[in-house]
Symmetry: C2
Subunit: 498 residues, 2 copies
């Protein structure tokens, strides 16, 4: 659940396909806006810092009074005539519209929540958003949400502000939805998007994009045509539910006469995947659509521009599954469903041992889904499988997730991205499907069937990790700084308006 790490191959692409000699010559109508972007640079960065100082974290019930209000204020300040908080059964969303009197409308998807953080792990305070020198990159804002997703989102809002301040009409109308639960799997995004008036507004758009920091340090940009789906579940075995084993932690010597809910969980887990952990063995599991020729060709082309050893180093991994060659490993990445154990926790978890027979244990799983699988289908199959194998007592807590999402390469939303990137001299890597997940299904699925994707120049990294950053003053010729990122949205909006 995170749109950044999702662009897995992007940072790993070796080829440098931009820049200077192919640089787009500025059309005259951008001069005023560009000047305004430069004028508002300092204030814009300050607005980003102020936003980072207001974290909304769904997993911690933190910042949900101010968070959506602050975003509504920001939206109104950049020209949205309508911006409102949308209540859901979870954290509220935001719905906003900007009617520019343009013939076409574009949807925008944003998140105002951020991932949890542990301040002690950071080299500068995560809510201070200090400007820090990053070797090889330049000055960057370091803070929670810097790149995931407030930095790119604020750059997009600054693009709108530049239109607003210069009195220039936006080339498209905007329909914006934002949520505050992206980091917990967007459990209520449907309640925002499918509210009748919101859905109707989105139905009139050419598609929905999310502002994103699309550049890797080597300048490569990936255009992705979708993302895997995912379900996150916590499987809990307990003596209470099982009716066997203890109802509280008891002395481990009793294992000789009392059943163990921890072993029960281990045995249940063991049935979910093959012996190597890599093939899903859940009975009657939704079947993935096999990878097709177009996807294979796209992967082959992308693989030829990627540096396998750099990717292995980045992920501290010396072998891909089954010692697959790189291209097949990438095919596996985009096409195979997975059952991953995010965490195991049960009984005594401190240093050394403690002689207890625990009354419960939990496995946290994420199951990634590819077309034509559905989140509901996967969850139902998992539950039925557990029940059939004698593990029906194991609690399956579905904490979030959604279907896979796909957008065709010829969608206007995507073609406009490619056109803008080419105008910058960037030959994007086309990628069939992010292995990570984002809730694009809510736009690409029924009933909206809109295109959906990510767009934006600029660079950042460290989403979900300490020292998350977004480059403001770039010293790297392959990477746009703040004003360049802002201008990429200006150009994208013009391209979409064509």
């Amino acid at each position: 659940m995170k749109s950044l790490s999702v662009r897995i191959p992007a940072v790993l692409l070796a080829g440098l396909l931009c820049c200077a000699s192919l640089a787009w010559s500025e059309p005259a109508n951008l001069t005023d806006i560009k000047a305004q972007v430069a004028r508002q640079h300092d204030a814009g960065v300050k607005r980003l810092q102020e936003w980072i100082a207001l974290p909304s974290i769904a997993a911690e019930d933190r910042g949900f009074r101010e968070g959506p209000q602050h975003l509504v204020g920001l939206l109104k300040s950049v020209g949205f005539q309508h911006a409102e908080i949308v209540a859901t059964d979870g954290k509220p969303g935001v719905f906003a519209t900007l009617d520019a009197g343009a013939p076409r409308s574009v949807g925008v998807y944003m998140m105002y929540d951020v991932k949890q953080f542990v301040p002690a792990e950071w080299s500068s305070p995560p809510l201070e958003a200090a400007l820090v020198d990053k070797p090889g990159l330049g000055k960057a804002v370091v803070g929670r949400g810097a790149v995931n997703q407030k930095g790119p989102e604020m750059a997009f809002l600054e693009a709108l502000r530049a239109f607003h301040e210069t009195g220039k009409a936006l080339p498209v109308n905007l329909v914006l939805v934002a949520e505050g639960e992206e980091e917990i799997g967007s459990p209520h995004i449907g309640q925002i998007v499918h509210r009748a008036d919101v859905e109707a507004a989105l139905a009139g758009t050419v598609g929905v994009f999310m502002p994103s920091a699309g550049q890797d340090p080597d300048g490569v940009v990936t255009v992705s045509l979708g993302a895997k789906g995912v379900i996150e579940v916590q499987l809990t075995a307990s003596g209470e539910r099982w009716g066997k084993g203890p109802g509280k932690d008891i002395h481990s010597s009793l294992k000789a006469m009392v059943d163990s809910p921890v072993w029960h969980l281990v045995h249940a887990l063991n049935t979910l995947v093959s012996a190597d952990g890599n093939t899903v063995t859940i009975d009657d599991y939704p079947q993935p659509r096999p990878i097709n020729a177009a996807e294979k060709a796209m992967i082959a082309k992308a693989a030829s521009r990627m540096d396998e050893s750099q990717m292995k180093a980045r992920y501290s991994t010396s072998h891909w599954i089954d010692d697959l060659p790189f291209q097949q490993a990438l095919e596996r990445l985009i096409s195979q469903p997975t059952v991953n154990i995010e965490g195991l926790v049960g009984g005594y978890t401190g240093p050394g041992g403690k002689t207890v027979l625990p009354h419960s244990a939990q496995a946290k799983l994420d199951l990634r889904l590819v077309p034509d699988m559905t989140a509901a289908g996967a969850l139902a199959a998992l539950k039925a499988h557990l029940a059939r194998h004698g593990f029906g007592d194991i609690d399956v807590n579905f904490s979030g997730g959604y279907d896979p999402t796909s957008t065709p390469a010829d969608a206007e939303l995507i073609q406009a991205q490619i056109a803008v990137l080419k105008s910058y001299g960037i030959d994007p890597v086309m990628w069939p499907r992010n292995a990570g997940s984002y809730p694009g299904y809510v736009f690409t699925g029924a009933p909206l069937h809109r295109a959906s994707g990510h767009f934006g120049l600029g660079h950042g990294s460290g989403a979900h990790a300490p020292d998350e950053y977004f480059v403001i003053d770039s010293t790297n010729p392959n990477v746009k700084g703040w004003d360049g990122a802002v201008m990429s949205y200006v150009r994208y909006l013009y391209e979409l308006g064509k």
Copy 2:
């Protein structure tokens, strides 16, 4: 590793087989000592409180300068002519001798360490050892170590003090060994016991006993003839050691191309036990000696005095393994080796989920052993099994443990216990083998081949738990208070000296 919970059935025995009408008439030679015990009551309780205030906790490297020194001081104050700290590769032990000029010598085993504790979980501060009213029991010292094992041990020392103060010769000589690592599995007890002079001194004893709070609230006392052995191991799967999977936690979407050390651990665990978790399936595992007729008869007799429903309630357990009837479940308890998962920990362990593919995971296991299994044999078989099944990369960290221990019922040390208990009108429950473990093997095994057991009246509970207590002023006619506990040791020493 814990001598108290080890007496599993004791608290659950329903029959009340004491007390008043059968009460032993005091022999004249105990009158002076009894009066002295009463005189030193307050000071003795204070000495217990002072000792509790000085916790030694091996798992936390806490209190190992003062702990053994304090014990040496206590021993000297009650008449041990020799008492010294014995260095080991771990925490120091204590060796002490009291030569009473008696024809016979008795060994005493003590521990000066206590279990970890979390003060917030206690209703009175765990190091203050406050005197608290316990309904149905009377006033009890509440503190860490109160019953496991400082309370009973101090009661024993107060018995020696009473001899000392009244100038009466002890009926036996004493050879005492104490350790500071009982709670972590006594990894260095051999370095204390097998030091040449210590071993020689112990070799001359009739056996070695540990002071213990032997009475349940219903007055039942169990005489146990041994204990299971145990090994504690932490199994850690990691990408680093495996050479597959990541070397750090990475985004879970990569599961489609990167192996998972967590699944590797789950699959390894799955091979260790049968599908129900209850039969060890480690290849070439040491074979238990089958339960014999004498043990079965002892269990049958004990079971007839136990309250199954009370035991089920105590352990929040509604069914024994395989729905066994009580007697067979108890036979299983004393005769079957186990592989228990004490804890699972790996990856993300907080609330909800987090989309990581963890680089490592750990299972904490304890494996209980019965005659004729050995700790070394079990550990070697476990490692060989893992290697044979493709899990040789999984780190097996042996953190402590030892062989099972057995003492014949006709040993003098045991017969003296039975005689003293009968003199109190108590018909003890004879029990073949505690399911928990204590390092009696170091005395009962080669080369010493001494008897070993636990003895002492009085009552306490909550070892390893919050609000651990030991009764001081008993209002329960089935339970001795402090002076009664002290006197039980006086009588035991006289009986041993006969």
